[in-house]
């Protein structure tokens, strides 16, 4: 609605709110980044002295590196898989008969609501019986179970507001159902896909309790952080967090520069 202009009171109020919200969201991360440069052996506000000590500690430690690697690997396998399986399920729900839809939807999102410790112990017993504990064969399916609901919800919400007429129009112009889906539906529900993908990645990357049960020697970042925090609230965790945040910021900038996301934005406008 560009013609409404940017100087209306409504917009100014929104902008003010936006700045406050941004401050609220960023504040703890900013604090963590500041803390990561402390030269002390503990966290406090404000840090009495600064240095790169904790970055050196974290980067030199093979355990942290190994943990980051495992976490990334798991999330990188889980995210695309959950996007495919979750989007298929959301499409199936959307296109399927009305009757029973709510029940299936409820089942699809239900893993979200089970406390993870309960799911974790149940999965652990199955994995023990199958002798696949402490391997990707159990960790990936376990993570998929908790990430797929987010994809189903996010994509499902996009599909609900999606005008099926567009897909019909493409089909009437001779596109088959798959082409219509690929060229029309998926680009339009892209915000839902991106949102679902982001959630899936993060849920997997930050998952603690299920991995705790399934892992014996496998170390992920949340396990490593939990362990180190039980012993001492050390600034090393601030350095690890600052590095994670920096990596994601770099990725975002790269996306902007490549114009990937803008192309997605143009479709609807």
């Amino acid at each position: 609605m560009p013609e409404r202009g940017f100087a209306t009171p409504g917009f100014l109020a929104l902008a003010l709110f936006g700045s406050l919200a941004t401050a609220f969201l960023v504040l703890p991360l900013a604090i963590l980044c500041v803390q990561s440069f402390t030269a002390e052996s503990y966290l406090s506000f404000p840090p009495p002295s600064f240095g790169l000590r904790w970055y050196r500690t974290v980067l030199a430690d093979p355990e942290w590196r190994q943990a980051a690697q495992s976490s990334l690997t798991i999330a990188a396998i889980v995210t695309p898989l959950s996007l495919v399986v979750g989007t298929l399920a959301a499409l199936g729900l959307d296109r399927g008969p009305m009757r029973g839809r709510n029940v299936i939807y409820g089942i699809l999102i239900s893993p979200m609501i089970l406390p993870h410790i309960v799911l974790g112990l149940g999965l652990f017993r199955i994995a023990l019986d199958l002798e696949i504990d402490d391997s990707l064969w159990s960790i990936v399916p376990a993570h998929l179970t908790i990430t797929i609901p987010f994809v189903v919800i996010s994509v499902g919400a996009s599909l609900q507001s999606f005008d099926v007429g567009l897909e019909k129009a493409a089909q009437s112009l001779g596109a088959n159902r798959f082409r219509a889906l690929w060229h029309i539906t998926l680009p339009i529900i892209r915000p839902g896909l991106v949102g679902g993908g982001i959630f899936a990645f993060i849920m997997s990357f930050d998952e603690f309790i299920i991995t705790y049960f399934l892992a014996v020697q496998t170390r992920t970042l949340p396990l490593e952080i939990f362990d180190s925090l039980r012993y001492q609230v050390s600034p090393s965790i601030a350095a690890v967090s600052a590095l994670t945040i920096a990596a994601s910021a770099a990725l975002t900038v790269a996306l902007i520069l490549r114009g990937q996301v803008m192309a997605g934005g143009r479709i609807v406008q």
């Binding site: 695309p80 112990l121 609230v233």
Partner: protein, 356 residues
């Protein structure tokens, strides 16, 4: 429309390619080789931090080298044996470690659920040098630690001599007690006001309610409690002596007091789980680690030892506290079977008290 959607497809395809690459690279998170009993492999729990380093340096590595073994190190999450996990593993015949440290109530739980392998006395010659009370049929008790009062020496003067100092109205919103190992906190209230640790009943919780205005939080781990002192949230809390010694060493104005009503001494029993793949080596390790050298290293770190031959410097005596049988005798005698039996009721009352 088609033009605009092309990057999408490329993106998806490159995503799929990346997935494939990761799937190929993945096996480094190896499917764990479920080794059958291999006399050359032993699996130990490790811990984070300087205590973990100490175990590695003086408890595990020398032994592993001496016997030319290959060791697998399993992180001991939270410093506590994961009983819920071990129970399922032992039922499946594959416990993750060959030696497990157990708290008193965990030992009772493990025995009631038939999770342990007996350790014959003659398999551990070093038992000859131990105080008798630390020898069990399931392994030796070691790593002695105390639960007393930690306080800020600049703010709390004179030094507290009674647990009741926590209830002093001048510390409104300035003290904390522990949620972790809360059975100890409950027994502490009882010995402060009733002179004996049991029973935990309504009277116990009435005293806790009286303490409520002073409580700023209930801490969940030793690291939490340290942070509370560092950030000046609290001036006093019941705490563990090892942590206090370390904070003192860092120059913080913190001290450890043993209240007149009595204090608590606990240790871990190092046991061998049923299904252990190398019980023979595990027993040899128990014998090795009970020796004077490995035990002395632990004393330097602030933990007590069951070995009678270990000697203490004056500083070590001050830090370890339980340096002779006479001091240990002053500790409150805990009934771990009772603790295990009554924990469900205690926890319900505790939750009701917190939410109330």
């Amino acid at each position: 429309m088609t033009n605009a959607s092309r990057p999408t497809r490329r993106h998806l395809l490159s995503g799929a390619a990346a997935t494939a690459a990761f799937a190929v690279a993945a096996p480094y998170i190896a499917t764990r080789a479920h080794a059958q009993g291999d006399p050359k492999v032993i699996r130990f729990y490790t811990q984070d931090g300087t205590l973990g380093d100490l175990y590695m340096e003086h408890w595990y590595r020398p032994f592993v080298e001496m016997h030319d073994l290959r060791a697998e190190y399993i992180p001991l999450q939270g410093g506590n044996a994961p009983m819920e996990k071990l129970q399922a593993q032992i039922a499946a015949g594959r416990p993750e470690a060959d030696v497990i440290p157990l708290h008193g109530n965990q030992l009772v739980f493990a025995l009631r659920n038939d999770m342990l392998m007996p350790v014959p006395r003659d398999a551990v010659p070093e038992y000859a040098n131990l105080h008798e009370q630390y020898i069990t049929d399931w392994g030796p008790g070691m790593v002695l630690w105390c639960y007393g009062l930690a306080y800020n020496t600049e703010k709390v003067t004179p030094a507290p001599t009674s647990w009741k100092a926590l209830w002093d109205p001048q510390w409104a919103g300035r003290v904390a007690i522990n949620e972790a190992l809360k059975d100890q906190a409950l027994q502490m209230v009882n010995i402060a006001f009733k002179g004996q640790p049991y029973p935990v009943d309504e009277e116990t919780f009435a005293h806790l309610t009286a303490l409520r205005p002073n409580l700023v939080t209930l801490w969940s781990s030793g690291a939490d409690a340290e942070q509370l002192f560092r950030n000046d949230e609290i001036v006093m809390t019941p705490f563990w002596n090892g942590r206090v010694t370390r904070l003192k060493g860092e120059g913080l104005p913190i001290a450890f007091a043993v209240p007149d009503e009595g204090f608590f001494v606990r240790h871990s029993t190092y046991a061998i789980p049923k299904g252990s793949r190398n019980p023979e080596m595990a027993m040899k390790w128990l014998d090795f680690v009970l020796g004077v050298e490995p035990q002395k290293r632990l004393v330097e770190f602030g933990y007590g030892t069951p070995n009678k031959l270990v000697t203490y410097t004056p500083e070590e005596e001050a830090a370890v506290i339980v340096t002779d049988a006479a001091v240990v005798a002053k500790a409150v005698e805990e009934d771990f079977a009772r603790i295990l039996d009554e924990t469900p009721q205690w926890n319900d009352m505790w939750t009701a008290w917190k939410a109330g």
